[in-house]
């Protein structure tokens, strides 16, 4: 079987192999100022950007991203409007979307994958779609050239992880802790222990996300992992201070993980 490596994975592998630690900020699509925040993040050292398509019932998200999702929905954001706005972004880093499975299921996996591809999206993360239910989506995503980023959880037994990484495209999303997205005082020990387990079995870039809350914690995580995803800490800055604060924060994390 030939394995075609997509744009997200190719770019992240190349940077990783050149010795760079990877930084992927998350921004809720449709939230006021979100396009400027994406541009600011891209200009400040992000290697890829994860764009949330807001959903009414985000079970993997804590208070900050829940609030951002609700605000975006109240402002009229839809999958169609967010993807239309993605076309105007004009950033050079690869983009992933993060959304919940009903957003995929409703139009159907084939149609949704095509919508992503035609908006220029490289990859997708669907946190409530575990490996065992991912078949129909993965078939559609593969056909449309969308890389499916699978999540690996700290609770996964050793036998499950190889099956997850085998189905992973783009990067492996190593879930940093038992819990939902949100900022924590300390990096959980599971963040580095799971990343280490994954690094032993895969060459696909391993990024830690969920509970990586600041530059210091990002630096701790990349001692083991290839990079980090940062969500709540980014979105909180967009909610409180606007797009410029997102750029400053991404630059701060970039500097910390480059040290």
């Amino acid at each position: 079987m030939t394995l075609t490596i997509g744009r997200m994975e190719a770019e992240l592998r190349a940077k990783r192999d050149a010795g760079r630690k990877l930084l992927v900020p998350y921004i809720t699509g449709g939230l006021r100022g979100w396009q400027d925040a994406v541009r600011a993040a891209a200009a400040s050292g992000a290697d890829a950007i994860e764009i949330g398509i807001p959903f009414s019932d985000p079970v993997m998200d804590g208070p900050v991203i829940q609030r951002a999702s609700q605000l975006a929905l109240a402002d009229g954001a839809t999958p169609v409007s967010v993807l239309a706005e993605v076309r105007d972004l004009d950033v050079s880093v690869p983009l992933a979307v993060m959304t919940y499975y009903n957003t995929v299921h409703h139009p159907g996996p084939l149609r949704f994958a095509e919508q992503l591809a035609s908006a220029g999206i490289a990859a997708a993360i669907v946190p409530d779609l575990p490996l065992d239910e991912s078949g129909p989506w993965c078939v559609a995503a593969d056909a449309a050239g969308i890389e499916t980023i699978m999540l690996a959880a700290p609770t996964a037994p050793d036998a499950r992880l190889p099956r997850i990484v085998a189905r992973c495209r783009g990067f492996v999303y190593s879930v940093g802790l038992l819990g939902v997205t949100g900022e924590r005082d300390q990096l959980a020990s599971t963040a580095t222990s799971l990343a280490a387990r994954l690094k032993m079995i895969t060459d696909v870039p391993v990024l830690v996300g969920v509970g990586v809350s600041n530059a210091q914690q990002a630096r701790e995580a990349v001692r083991v992992a290839d990079g980090v995803v940062q969500g709540a800490s980014v979105v909180r800055r967009l909610l409180e201070h606007g797009a410029d604060a997102v750029g400053q924060y991404v630059a701060e994390v970039r500097a910390a993980i480059d040290e």
């Binding site: 929905l73 499975y101 299921h105 239910e133 999540l151 959880a153």
Partner: protein, 401 residues
């Protein structure tokens, strides 16, 4: 369905052919499944294995049967409503789940899950609740079995069900108000799942209906099967036959699935009554939320819509996956009734029979009252799933307006 004599059977009954185990992936037809974050997959697998093993273990079954008998007060009786039946021109029987300890059918499932959780070595229960009936039942089981318990409840529901909130706190449980989304049952489920994602090592999620990821819809049905098994036997003794209709209210659908399980392989018509503002089967489309694929009220982009019902326990935009399956194969029907019809039924039962029903169960009665003229002389078995004490303050306010 062909008409035939229904053989007597022992309890527990052999699995009914139309309501047997779901598939390996937890499907009832095309509904169900296990759409949860990766973090919860091992916990769901562990729960499925533990339930399968316990359910086949006579010791577990005897222990649960003893609790249901000596603690919950089973079997629940069947009451014939001669006055209301005469008014409606039908024969009306009520399966009295309202007389169980804690006042509803919810205790059947909760005792089963709490015993199972304890057997699995869990020390803490989390639960969601709408009207508070499942929350009270879970708090009760936690008190009885010495477990820690936290109940998530929408802020809107906390306001309209103050009595049940106080009962849960009296029983030693923590009640956590949920302020996200519609601040009702749907959001309480989200918040309970978020808690479980973070605490899965020592905590069991005691889900209150035949919904959620596999194995919940199947497991919760099996714990409520006792309603249908008893009712089948009681109807056979009293009528020498099955009823023409079996009617129950449906939010997630646990009391309905319980009573349907006793009659699904007979000629009885099965009716699950939804609130007009939460009519998942009639107005929804297949969707995925709360771990399952099922009929779901959603907008044109798949955003889940808020349900609106006078009854907090039915204020839910989805429905259990096995109900979606029974609807899709046309074995059960899922009509809906309005809030006004429900309030009317609530009052009519109180005045004619001296029974104050829960607003949830009043949905089933409202449909019977509205439709009785279409089945004159029929024998109708209704599941009176809960008692109405908790709703009296709300009704008082409504009727004084």
């Amino acid at each position: 369905m062909t008409e035939r004599d229904v053989p007597e059977r022992d309890v527990p009954a052999a699995p009914a052919t139309l309501m047997s185990e779901p598939s390996d992936t937890g499907r009832f037809g095309e509904f169900g499944g296990r759409f949860v974050p990766e973090t919860l997959v091992p916990a769901c697998e562990e729960l499925e294995a533990a339930f399968r093993e316990a359910w086949a273990d006579t010791t577990f079954r005897l222990e649960l049967d003893a609790l249901l008998r000596d603690y919950a007060g089973r079997p629940s009786i069947v009451t014939e409503c001669a006055n209301l039946g005469r008014q409606l021109g039908i024969r009306l029987l009520l399966k009295r789940e309202d007389l169980n300890h804690t006042g509803s059918h919810k205790i059947n499932n909760v005792l089963g899950q709490a015993l199972l959780a304890k057997r699995m070595g869990k020390t803490r229960l989390v639960a969601e609740t709408g009207a508070g009936q499942h929350g009270v039942a879970t708090a009760t089981a936690a008190a009885l079995l010495g477990m820690e318990c936290k109940v998530y409840m929408g802020a809107v529901d906390i306001e309209r069900q103050a009595l049940n909130v106080f009962r849960m706190r009296l029983l030693g449980s923590e009640v956590e108000p949920v302020h996200s989304g519609s601040r009702t049952l749907k959001d309480a489920v989200n918040e309970a799942m978020r808690d479980w994602v973070a605490t899965v090592g020592d905590t069991h999620y005691c889900l209150g209906s035949v919904m959620g990821p596999h194995p919940y819809p199947w497991m919760v049905r099996e714990f409520h099967r006792v309603i249908g098994d008893e009712a089948f036997r009681q109807c056979n003794e009293r009528l020498g036959d099955v009823p023409d209709l079996v009617v129950a209210c449906v939010g997630g659908g646990s009391n309905a699935i319980g009573i349907f399980s006793g009659f699904v392989d007979t000629r009885s018509r099965l009716i699950g009554v939804e609130p007009a503002g939460g009519a998942a089967v009639e107005r929804g489309q297949p969707g995925v939320v709360h771990g399952m694929r099922s009929y779901l009220m959603q907008d044109e982009y798949g955003q889940v819509l808020e349900a609106h019902s006078i009854s907090a326990g039915l204020d839910y935009p989805g429905v259990g996956p096995e109900h979606s399956h029974l609807a899709s194969i046309h074995r059960a029907e899922y009509p809906n009734v309005t809030d006004d019809e429900v309030v009317g039924a609530f009052q009519q039962l109180a005045r004619t029979e001296g029974i104050i029903t829960a607003l949830e169960s009043a949905h089933a009665l409202a449909w019977i009252i509205r439709e009785a003229h279409t089945f004159p002389g029929a024998t109708v078995l209704m599941n009176l799933s809960g008692r109405g004490d908790k709703d009296v303050a709300q009704i008082m306010e409504l009727l004084e307006l």
